[in-house]
């Protein structure tokens, strides 16, 4: 059977990924999953606060000496930061561009309104914006210590306690962690679909996994401010 197939010229991999709605969504899925893996590690690390100031601060110091003597002081940490920065920028820019396109694709609304999609699905955009603002605040608070009440470099335990001893610190972190949970709930399952891993049989397990991850992340993160507020950590 001789078929006349065309010779096919395609743009580069980066061009085809960024130039297509499906490709851009793939970038979002991969960058989202990278951030998600980081969040799981971050949440587990935070739980060391329950073992006291000494252990938590030593752990925080280790984050800087990680990889020594092969690597220099803070090299590994900066490696992680660069990857995360790339992920958050790609994720945010892709989200913005795709959202603009989606809104333009539906210029007129229906007169007869009805509620569509689940809460987690509908809050992806606002939730994402809340997360972006939170990331900035979080860095100013506990990395650069610009807005921290205690602001002692090398004493993260005391700085965290200071954050959660203010009402606004508690409000900001609690809202943000709720937003993380909702974002991960729809995001993890979505990413599986985007990467072509979803099918009818796997749907239940993927949804359960997404809910589990969202719940564990939120509960783990929230436990720290709650512990400070109730005096368990102080």
């Amino acid at each position: 059977m001789a078929l006349a197939t065309r010779t096919d010229r395609r743009p580069s991999l980066t061009r085809s990924l960024w130039g297509s709605t499906v490709g851009k969504k793939t970038v979002m899925a991969v960058s989202g999953l990278i951030m998600l893996m980081y969040l799981v590690a971050h949440m587990l690390g935070n739980l060391k606060i329950f073992f006291g100031s000494g252990e938590f601060n030593t752990y925080a110091h280790w984050l800087r000496t990680m990889g020594e003597p092969l690597l220099h002081y803070e090299w590994a940490l900066w490696g992680v930061r660069v990857v995360l920065l790339a992920a958050v920028v790609l994720h945010g820019v892709a989200a913005y561009q795709l959202s603009r396109r989606d809104i333009r694709a539906r210029p007129s609304k229906y007169v007869h309104k009805r509620r569509r999609a689940s809460y987690a699905t509908r809050t992806m955009r606002w939730g994402g914006i809340i997360l972006a603002l939170f990331i900035v605040w979080h860095l100013l608070d506990l990395t650069t210590l610009t807005v921290n009440e205690n602001a002692q470099p090398g004493r993260p335990y005391e700085n965290v306690v200071a954050t959660f001893s203010t009402w606004y610190g508690n409000v900001i972190y609690l809202v943000a962690m709720l937003a993380v949970g909702l974002h991960v709930r729809h995001g993890f399952w979505s990413a599986a679909q985007t990467l072509g891993m979803g099918n009818a049989r796997r749907d239940r397990i993927l949804k359960t996994l997404a809910n589990g991850l969202a719940l564990v992340l939120t509960a783990g993160f929230v436990s720290v401010p709650v512990a400070v507020m109730t005096g368990v950590v102080g």
């Binding site: 078929l3 991999l13 709605t21 333009r104 694709a105 007869h112 569509r116 979803g198 749907d203």
Partner: protein, 249 residues
């Protein structure tokens, strides 16, 4: 039955439209939704008014021509086409809102009629197989595993009505495109064009100005043929595979 209909009336693509209210009685619950609209139009014609324009053809749920948004739901409250929706699903005295498909890529032509030729151009980009002309090939010459045949058949059920686009908050055509891609890509007849098909159909879809997928799932809920949401994941998999292969050449 008596109904209060609120129908989108729009003279042409360039004139702004509005909802117009019509009271209608003597509706039988055995009528289809389109027959109910026919009844309304007969009255309008007798009154010397312009009848409501709406698309329809087979009236048996297989052509995909009909389709309006009824009380906010594409094809109305039942999982079927508008022509197969019966008035028994409404109650005496109901107010029923009837609107055209809304999507940037589906401009309104008149009243409830929209231009869906964007779908034709997506099909033109790869929703076909290339076969040599001549005598029909021997049916047993190309065996198809049962599971693949079922998968192809499920997706072949898509009638191209556009309800998925109408229901999607992003006006996305991913469910339609994935149904067409999956239908042909799983079959040996579709294999020679497997990569170009998915790449070209997805880029045609993007060029028409449809939105992207946010996995809201409204499309699959609205689809009268039960094309399921994982269809989109299956097309994404095909697209990623084809993109990887193309970048290696």
């Amino acid at each position: 039955m008596r109904l209060t209909l609120r129908v989108w009336r729009q003279r042409d693509a360039d004139t702004p439209g509005a909802m117009v209210t019509y009271d209608i009685d003597d509706i039988s619950e055995d009528m289809s939704f389109l027959e109910m609209l026919d009844t309304l139009n007969e009255k309008l014609i007798l009154r010397g008014e312009e009848p409501v324009a709406f698309d329809h053809d087979c009236r048996e749920g297989i052509c995909g021509a009909c389709g309006v948004v009824i009380n906010g739901d594409a094809h109305g409250p039942e999982r079927t086409t508008t022509c197969q929706l019966h008035m028994r699903h409404f109650d005496d005295g109901d107010t029923v809102d009837v609107e055209p498909w809304r999507a940037g890529a589906f401009p309104v032509v008149k009243d409830l009629v929209v231009d869906r030729s964007a779908f034709d151009r997506i099909i033109g980009a790869g929703g076909y197989i290339s076969v040599p002309t001549g005598a029909a090939p021997e049916a047993h010459a190309t065996p198809v595993p049962k599971a693949d045949a079922d998968f192809a058949f499920e997706h072949a059920e898509c009638i191209g009505c556009g309800a998925c686009v109408a229901a999607c908050p992003n006006g996305s055509a991913m469910l339609f495109t994935s149904a067409k891609v999956n239908h042909l890509n799983v079959l040996p007849q579709g294999a020679p064009e497997r990569e170009t098909r998915v790449l070209d159909m997805v880029s045609a879809m993007d060029e028409e100005g449809f939105g992207g997928c946010t996995l809201a799932g409204e499309c699959a809920t609205a689809c009268p043929k039960g094309i399921a949401l994982p269809s989109i994941a299956a097309m994404n998999k095909e697209w990623l595979r084809a993109t990887r292969k193309a970048s290696r050449r």
